[in-house]
Symmetry: D2
Subunit: 327 residues, 4 copies
């Protein structure tokens, strides 16, 4: 099957590498506004640089992978759906809920497969927790505590176009909430502060948040995040059920433990998302092609993309208006 | 110095044992509505059974330890203060903020030492975190996540008189919040559910809670609690600062690790508060007598007792009225 | 029951404190060549200073606790046995196997209870491993790996009279071997080096050892020790059986974990044996009086003391003569 | 650069996959006595099935990867060296030291690069320990304790041709010893037993061993191994130096921790060597081609292969003759 890739940046390279390992799949085209980046990545994978029009016009292209900037996602999804191509798109669908919903509708009408890149659901550790919950190991899930901390805030220029911390960063955590507790939000309460860098506040954003979601069945979820954890990328969650607790802890580069005159110490967590979720990105791409081959639904659908965005919107409102938002 | 103990129950026995280890301190009287329990504990420690009147009339009694039921605390504090005796009183001061404030005023006017038993501040692990924060190891504290879970709900009869989960159980966590973040609450949001046992709901209480506190300086605190953790008593917190994170983790009975065909496993946490905080109770009593000897203030004053109760009240209101409460 | 204590030093104080907590037991006499130390400890516990003759002549003394220097043990054991007193004696029985055997014979003939202070068998962690092996959790034990490292070598003056590292330090590990594998040694191979301090070598001793014991049933045991672990007192062992492995790991002062820009770190192990085995010393004394009360055998008998010394002798010979010693 | 692969079995597939990821390298030929396996692997990688003669005759083949059975290694190394091809050969060089030495001599004379597959040296965890020792983090290394346990014994048919446990299994541990302590063995003592399966003994082999190596500088190494660890593949070592200790611990499939009513438990170690050393095999192949490109020496040379085999021989003699062997 022939594939085209939109976006030759950091995440595009990851997807290109994973595409290359799928049996029977060939990367044919790379599209990027940066001609040099597109050419380099195309050359590495035996593909060629193309325009979006060329991609959508080529009947042999069955799959498009969208890893370009967020503001291009909605348009590319709609065009790909219209062209009958299967879609693998980085999160988020869009920063505006109504546009995201229109994308979902376009996908539905076209009947194409569309996976939204919530890669965490494909992480071996996170996925093992989900499977063990489903098997009943901890009985009924009751509470979820999500810790999601970045090693440092992105540049202010990025933040300006990011949609704010809830849509940019916590959207992953909202997806984890929906996936793990398997219940609908009834109310959302969000608060936050600028504690790590005043520059974040200067563009109307915050860098630390505390979110609480109560579900229709009364289950509780707390999410705590910061843009700057001095010790690195901290990605954990724990879910408590009637029979016990499952914790998804951090991954480390090595399993070395050092004992010196001052402390017994282990590695910092994996540095950032490209390292932490390396296996997840690979599994996500494999899952996409498996689902395509079987005609099966994907684990992270465009509906999931819309739903997480709705929660991000609710959290943004809660924070801005300092009130509990009923979903 | 002669001491008298009110309450010969579970916690009274702990305090009696710790009193016995203080150099130069003798337990003289035990007071309890249960004559048999009072007699047994008195006999074990070479003390005698007495009435409250006898205790307060005895000029040789310099210290009273109050470990009787919550509804007796306020009255005993006021009488002890009037009699000029140093006071060691189990938390809470009272279930009503106004009565607690009157106790604090009585203590202030009498100029006696009064320690309220927030024993967690004396736990070696919790206390080490506090000391390391004060030394600047993680820079400015920014966020606090408190996990506080009991191994099982108390009987409904107990719950009826408990003042509700926020005043009975989370009062400890509110004290940890004040101590660790060292900042005043600006807003409190609390929600909760009955998830573990409908009987809890039948007396108007809840068994799972999620609380968020925002401080005047914008620091954030999340507390998650449940009355029933299948794996035991789960008492942890983590505080994130500009330079890193400090975590206070669970204590275990032993350091055995078993590797079998199914898993690598360690002990459950210490069973419940008497085991978990054994060292804390001992250190608390030693601190009390050290402070008395030096004329120094105690680490957990009656003002701390009032302040934690005020937060419990705010959380109760937030939960009941489903709104954010400004403190 | 009245008790007498020989030795008012470091370990004597520990035993005195634990004696004081035994119901119905009173410390009556303290004997020490250092009159000041004896007086101080006697005063603290309401006892009085005495000579050995006075102790053995007093019919009311039912128990002697021997915590004086090693060269006094054998004589005191023999006299105490002759006087019909129950004996609690620090390890080793003696540095010479033949004298130790004569002590054992004296104890046997007198029919008195005699506990030798292999306190590790009373440690909650080590003891839990033993109990779980006995319950069959790992099937038949096959291999044992013992890690036993001190935080620093004692003064050379001490080493001169210590009997050498195998009799002084590894005697505990030989006892662990006998207890855990519950089998007799067939061969012993020991080697070692002076790696941490040439002064150790100057008195004919070594500071690092590697010992291998093969039992009659073919089970294997490896012991590794050093006098100087920069990170503190390292006391672990692991036993592998047909169904799995049990590990006894180090205890730490607190359960704090710090995550900073350089590492995720936990506390060093408990500093040295007084801290590490605090609970063990308390349990050992309680076990002794329980055994006395029930007329039951003690867990660490004088026969165990002799047997561990025999292994220490075999290891010393193996190291000195560079050959495998058949036991 | 064109490459040929000998051996299309389990390890051959791993090497083929890693070859495919090297930039500028093409797998041209697959050679295997099993024609079907050769054809399948060749097809998957766009190579073709060939004979050894064809491979050695093809001037375009610059590299041969030898993953066929042990008895073919020596012959293929000698032929490859004669043909001037760079060699990547699975351990061991051969089961006979003299043949292994002749291979090393052939490689030396031909001046070709030859890497022997001691993949553990390329493992991220093990390699990090080595690098941190070299940087001086724990001062001078003094003692090494190696734990090396398989999840289960191979079939008796395999054991018959394996050269015995010391040459087949411990050869890796002997290489770790040489690499980590960076010193020459002076004496070797080995003992062992048949404890897990009498069938192992029926072919003159053992399944549990305890080895002690003393180096010329007096450093000590203990190795403990078993063919059957019920909990899986246990691959750890710890090295103690003057300033502290570095431990290389097991890797786990996920970082999930489960807390239930009975225990707090984590994953078993990675199942066996293909899983545990997946990253190591990839890094080993990358290192080989990097060394080739730079004309630099490889980390695991044929001299290392010979030296480890010499230690395996010494250990075998020690075990069989029940004596300490001087190397």
């Amino acid at each position: 099957m022939d594939a085209a890739l939109f976006g030759a940046g950091r995440i595009g390279k990851i997807h290109a590498g994973n595409l290359a390992r799928q049996p029977g799949v060939a990367l044919r085209y790379v599209v990027d506004v940066d001609a040099g980046a597109a050419a380099a990545l195309a050359r590495q994978h035996g593909a060629r640089v193309a325009t979006a029009d060329e991609v959508f016009a080529d009947k042999d292209v069955g799959v498009v992978v969208i890893g370009s900037s967020t503001d291009t996602h909605a348009d590319l999804i709609v065009r790909a759906a219209a062209a009958g191509k299967a879609i693998f798109c980085e999160k988020p669908v869009d920063l505006a809920v109504d546009r995201a919903r229109r994308c979902a509708e376009a996908v539905r009408q076209a009947g194409v497969t569309c996976l939204i890149g919530f890669q965490r659901r494909y992480d071996p550790t996170f996925n093992a927790v989900k499977e063990r919950i489903v098997k009943g190991e901890i009985g009924e899930p009751e509470m979820l505590v999500v810790t999601s901390r970045d090693p440092g805030a992105p540049p202010v220029e990025y933040l300006k176009r990011s949609g704010g911390i809830f849509r940019d960063m916590l959207i992953h955590d909202f997806d984890i909430f929906r996936w793990i507790l398997d219940d609908d939000a009834a109310t959302v309460y969000a608060t936050g502060s600028v504690l790590t860098d005043p520059a974040v506040g200067s563009v109307g954003d915050i860098d630390c948040t505390a979110v609480t979601i109560r579900t229709r069945r009364g289950r509780l979820c707390q999410i705590n995040t910061t843009r700057r954890a001095a010790y690195g990328y901290d990605q954990r969650f724990e879910v408590i059920g009637s029979l016990g607790m499952l914790q998804a802890n951090n991954h480390r580069p090595t399993e070395v433990v050092a004992s010196t005159a001052t402390a017994v110490s282990a590695d910092l967590p994996e540095h950032f998302f490209l390292e932490r979720y390396r296996a997840a990105y690979a599994a996500e791409m494999a899952h996409f092609f498996e689902a395509l081959a079987k005609g099966a639904p994907v684990r992270t659908s465009i509906a999931d993309g819309v739903a997480a965005l709705e929660l991000a919107d609710a959290a943004t409102t809660s924070w801005r208006e300092q009130r509990i938002v009923t979903v």
